[in-house]
């Protein structure tokens, strides 16, 4: 007892210090524990969540693009590939790594591969083992690409590794039958853009690019480490303009991963998942049958593409029925359809000539000049005649007609039929440039058409004194003074006036309806109303004089090669010069009694080829389009015909 008392009373003061230190340390530990477990628990829980969860984003397939009758112009094709689920290989990889390490153990240390190299070897070895199974089934001899595989391990571990891509249907069938259901090897299906008609309407439909950063909306986990599958975005044509609609809704998944980043196997490994959804479809106004006929007509006798553009509109609604720009390209591979020796940069292959091509309108502009002359009273529909001697003198210069011997006496009908330059020199100069320009503006030649396609030529040009005065320096003209010779030039569609083929088609569609503007659209709307824009506002006799001139041109005049038996049409040909090239034009519409289709075709001739002309070269293309249209109308019996259009 006394010993006990003695022990209690004789405390060593150094022990007190020690106790104090222990208590202080315990307090620090307790404080740290409280700080970490209570005060900072949320932060660590969040960090743990971020470290253990991964987010995978998979883009939705794009919507389809249809023609006006619901035929697929651009769709999605399933793309079958055989993939390897890397998360299933974890134990196999560890075993293989040990085996590789053992194999190199006997080498001197300096010759042994380091850990990273052995890891790479193990990965390739395991993947090749699985690929060999596939090789056996498909009788192939494929090898794993080491760099790609290791890159996938490092950056896309949760995504399936594609061993073989774009399998043929037979290969796909053999694999799904012969691969065990629970194998790490799986047949994976993705989608790729599919163009069932190849380059058809390539410029209108456009093409897509690779989107490496698809986003999934309203899906949790955007702060997690993400793996994104490649998506697509529109780069040109309808694919670009309607990208928001066509773009599918991306899907997402959140996976639980182990410390090495492998997905936890089984259903508990998937924390959240949402399937991607296909984008919305678009129905274009393009008529596949007409488009195919136009594309075929735009080839020469040797099957090569002619350079130029062709467009046809539904006169009532302004919907584009066919749109061809040549040369074109393969929208899937984005390879130009050109001869190997062709100069891609100069070919304008990426240019949609229908909406972006800038051409002088040539004699097709005489429709405008005739309307302006009739409106001004300079041309009388019934009486005005003028004798063409093969040239017309303006100032001190003779302006030639294309018929050097002269057409003889012509009224406005005959002048349009034979495309007599002299008649239009005479009355163009008489009414002056401003009235011609005003008529052209009335038909919308001074602004773009507003079609739903990208990069439409936004500054079409009507040359007149005001334009010349403002722009002569910019376009390196001699001076800003407008002369009668300039008026003679613009009266026949030459000079500095530039329009697109689509504008020419709109002009002729408007004229056919007896109106002045047409708003084109490349989207099909079965309920789209008949267009109703400002009327031409000429007396019927004046309007009919121009119409009869165009009808004669179509039937037996310069545009007779565009005539289709059994179809009453109206046309105007033109040959314009741009630099050293001739441009062959034809604008036309049909049927005259119930206008339904308007066509504009322009073909670019070779440099210094003076034999090129609209009536000879562009008219057969128009004929092919009208013939295809008529054939289709004949097949579709019982269609109501609106004869009260104008």
């Amino acid at each position: 007892m006394s010993k006990l008392i003695e022990r209690r009373t004789h405390r060593n003061p150094r022990l007190l210090v020690f106790y104090g230190a222990i208590i202080a340390m315990a307090a620090v530990l307790a404080g740290g524990l409280i700080y970490r477990q209570l005060l900072n628990s949320g932060k660590y829980a969040e960090r743990e969540r971020i470290q253990s969860l991964r987010r995978v984003v998979s883009p939705g397939p794009r919507g389809n693009i249809y023609d006006r009758e619901g035929r697929v112009l651009v769709g999605n094709r399933p793309r079958f590939s055989v993939t390897l689920d890397l998360a299933e290989l974890r134990s196999e990889l560890s075993a293989e790594l040990r085996a590789v390490t053992r194999n190199y153990a006997s080498l001197p240390e300096e010759d042994r591969p380091n850990y990273d190299q052995r890891l790479r070897l193990a990965r390739v070895s395991v993947a090749q083992r699985y690929l060999d199974q596939v090789n056996t089934i498909l009788r192939r001899d494929e090898q794993v690409r080491s760099a790609r595989l290791n890159n996938h391990f490092n950056y896309s571990l949760l995504l399936p590794y594609v061993l073989l891509d774009d399998l043929a249907p037979g290969e796909y069938a053999r694999l799904i039958e012969r691969l065990p259901v629970n194998s790490p090897l799986q047949v994976y299906t993705s989608s790729t853009r599919h163009y069932p008609y190849g380059s058809l309407a390539a410029h209108a439909l456009g093409y897509i690019g690779v989107n490496t950063n698809p986003e999934v909306e309203d899906f949790p986990g955007d702060d997690l480490r993400q793996f994104k599958m490649k998506g697509a975005f529109g780069r040109d044509g309808l694919e670009l303009v309607f990208d928001d609609q066509l773009q599918g809704e991306a899907g997402g998944a959140i996976y639980l991963v182990d410390p090495a980043g492998f997905k936890v196997p089984g259903s508990e490994g998937t924390v959240d998942k949402r399937m991607p959804v296909q984008g919305r479809n678009i129905t274009t106004s393009i008529d596949l049958d007409l488009q195919q006929a136009t594309e075929a007509a735009m080839k020469d006798s040797e099957g090569r593409d002619r350079i130029g553009a062709a467009v046809a509109l539904d006169i009532r609604t302004g919907e584009v029925l066919t749109m061809v720009s040549k040369p074109d390209y393969d929208p899937l591979l984005r390879v130009p359809n050109l001869a190997p020796e062709a100069d891609v940069a100069k070919s304008g292959v990426w240019l949609n000539r229908v909406t972006q091509g800038q051409y002088p309108p040539g004699s097709t502009f005489k429709i405008i000049t005739a309307l302006a002359g009739l409106r001004a009273g300079a041309i009388e529909a019934a009486d005005t005649k003028f004798t063409c001697l093969g040239f017309y003198r303006v100032g001190n210069r003779n302006f030639p007609c294309h018929n050097r011997n002269g057409h003889g006496e012509r009224d406005v009908r005959g002048a349009l039929r034979d495309s007599c330059n002299v008649f239009f020199y005479k009355y163009g100069v008489e009414i002056g440039p401003n009235l011609i320009s005003a008529e052209a503006q009335r038909f919308g030649f001074n602004h773009s058409t507003g079609i739903e396609l990208p990069h439409e030529f936004g500054s079409p040009r009507i040359a007149d004194p005001a334009w010349r005065k403002a722009n002569w320096q910019r376009f390196r003209l001699a001076d800003g003074v407008w002369r009668d010779g300039d008026t003679a030039n613009i009266a026949i569609g030459q000079g500095d006036t530039l329009i697109t083929p689509l504008q020419a088609a709109c002009m002729v569609a408007s004229f056919a309806r007896g109106q002045t503007e047409t708003r084109p659209s490349i989207l099909h709307d079965p309920k789209r109303p008949v267009q109703n824009t400002a009327p031409i506002a000429l007396p019927p006799a004046d309007y009919n004089a121009v119409l009869e001139g165009m009808e004669q041109c179509y039937s037996f005049g310069s545009g007779r090669l565009s005539r289709v038996d059994g179809l009453r049409g109206a046309a105007k040909t033109g040959t314009a010069q741009l630099g050293r090239k001739d441009m062959a034009w034809v604008v036309a519409f049909a049927p005259v009694e119930n206008p339904r289709i308007a066509v504009a075709v322009v073909l670019e001739g070779a440099e210094d080829d003076n034999s090129f002309g609209g009536g000879t070269f562009a008219a057969p293309v128009v004929q092919a389009i009208l013939q295809a249209w008529k054939d289709k109308q004949d097949r579709a019996t019982g269609q109501p015909v609106n004869l009260s259009m104008r």
Partner: protein, 276 residues
Amino acid sequence: MFPKRLDHARPFVTLSVILLAWIFLPLGAKVFTRASFFEIQAPLVVADSFVRDLQDFWSNKTRSKEELLKAGREVAGLVAQYEYATQQNAQLQAEILRLENMLNLPPMPAFRLEPARVARRDFSAWWQRLIIRKGENYNLTVGAPVVFAGGVVGRITEVHRYTAVVDLVTSPTLRLAATVEGDTRPVSYQGGLNSSFSAPRGTVDFVPLDIAATASAPKRLVTSGMGVFPPGLTIGEITSLELSPDGLFRNGEVRLDRRLGTLTEVTVLIPLNPDE
């Protein structure tokens, strides 16, 4: 006290030692043990099957002469029908051969037909697998297709000396490349999760969008001929199809032949040239 407790624990220790030994046993030894176990069991399975056949035999012996005469007449009628069908088949085969020669087509894969009795079927895996009474002794091979009068039965997954295990078309572990009758595009068929004695079903994936099927207007699903099965064998009927979430395909349900639940006799197709 301590030795007594140890004595009580002896069975557990022994079990633990055996389990540990099994865990650390090399894979080859395990496979050998398992195969040996199966082979030891096989005579029992086969004997049991023969006993059941004997039971059937004796039950048939009890039938009256009238019944047997009636059955004999029916069999004679069937034989006549089959003889006629055989003649037609021979003509059609000759025609096919002629056309193949004209078109320089490669010959269709040929099979040897090996009929086999069903030896055993476990209640726990009724729709997953069955055991047939032929094995290596008849040169059966792993992966060989198994068929019956109604179409596909399944595929051989294990071959033993006198027996073989067939993975059934109703099992979720069996996947086939199929086509919808009248179409050539391959689709994927997989057995469903079928409970014992229920109506068997499977699933079909990657069906092209232009194919439709309903319960009232089902489509026949047949083998594609691109895998191990010859083309045109009935798998089942597609009774419903719905759009996949990504909009690329349709997925659906396949109704399988109810006779698959009462199979007694099947035919194994053994490829004559396995390399083809």
